[in-house]
Symmetry: C2
Subunit: 192 residues, 2 copies
């Protein structure tokens, strides 16, 4: 996939917006280059040439999403920050607009290796940003400095993803807080 | 879907074995009634009549799997038991024969609501069995009796599923042990 710059940046944004809108409406299994081309007003052959196909469209949409700032909470305590992050994940998937798109990315990654690599890179970037709340807690002396910041984030968010995409159970606000508190207790105990 | 009994129990097992073999070889996206019929030697119209389609085949395979005993560890300590359970999950997905089938169930559930309900029921049953190790630990006085046994299991296994099916990262034996130890630390702290 070429990285369009300058003049073609608008084309890239149009295609990306169309990809996200199509994912929201039809999910991964309904995503086609034809529909994205029609919706974006970009010629089908251009989409094929630059993005290669559905995999490239998903990778590009995720790459742009990774660049967006993630509103990391800064509540002054690691408990509040960690709960805030897990609630961001929960509410993102529950959001009527954002939720179906985010779920489509997870579904795409389970079915397609290129999408899996894109989602992996996206989550590495997201978790790296989130890990700052743990680093700040270590600096404030709230957590021992042997703690692995990224592992604390992983363990904190994992139960939300497990409920949504593996066990197919609802996730309440309490469930999300409990997941955050569990990761924090493990970090305090020196396990993470 | 009818529940075949007596004479037709052999038909059910043949179809189930064929479903599992097809899932192992071709994954969920390659599962068809035609292939299962051919492989099992059961007539296609019989498969359609009794199982309805691919969703019914998956539901039935998972239902039979749920009845199989899960070799719950009994090491004498909650630490050993919980590590044992998370290792069972990890090694199951890493197994060359079992792994692709189990992964196909997770992939099917992300794409199909009926498969999601079947996997949900299967995991409720599995986690209910696993929760016995937590109940025994409470009886032995290793954990406070306010602990929710099923939530301890959920939090213990979630990081393994998160790595495999969301973040698409490897899961080492150490990663699995750490996930078990984190859930235990949280349970001891009274969070779960």
């Amino acid at each position: 996939m070429k990285r369009p710059g300058g003049r073609s940046a608008r084309v890239r944004m149009a295609v990306r917006q169309a990809t996200l809108a199509e994912l929201a409406e039809h999910g991964y299994s309904g995503l086609t280059v034809e529909r994205v081309a029609e919706r974006s007003g970009v010629h089908k052959t251009t989409v094929y040439r630059r993005w290669g196909g559905v995999e490239g469209l998903i990778a590009d949409a995720l790459e742009l999403a990774a660049d967006e700032p993630w509103p990391i909470p800064d509540t002054g305590s690691i408990e509040g920050d960690l709960r805030g992050i897990v609630q961001l994940v929960r509410s993102g998937f529950a959001d009527p607009e954002l939720g179906p798109v985010s779920s489509a990315f997870v579904a795409a990654a389970v079915q397609n290796e290129a999408a899996a690599r894109s989602l992996h890179d996206f989550l590495v970037s997201r978790n790296e940003q989130s890990a700052d709340v743990v680093r700040r807690a270590i600096e404030r002396g709230e957590l021992p400095d042997v703690v692995d910041p990224r592992e604390v984030i992983r363990v904190a968010v994992a139960p939300v993803y497990y409920r949504l995409f593996v066990a197919h159970e609802p996730v309440t606000e309490d469930d999300a807080n409990r997941a955050a508190d569990a990761a924090l207790a493990a970090a305090r105990a020196g396990v993470l």
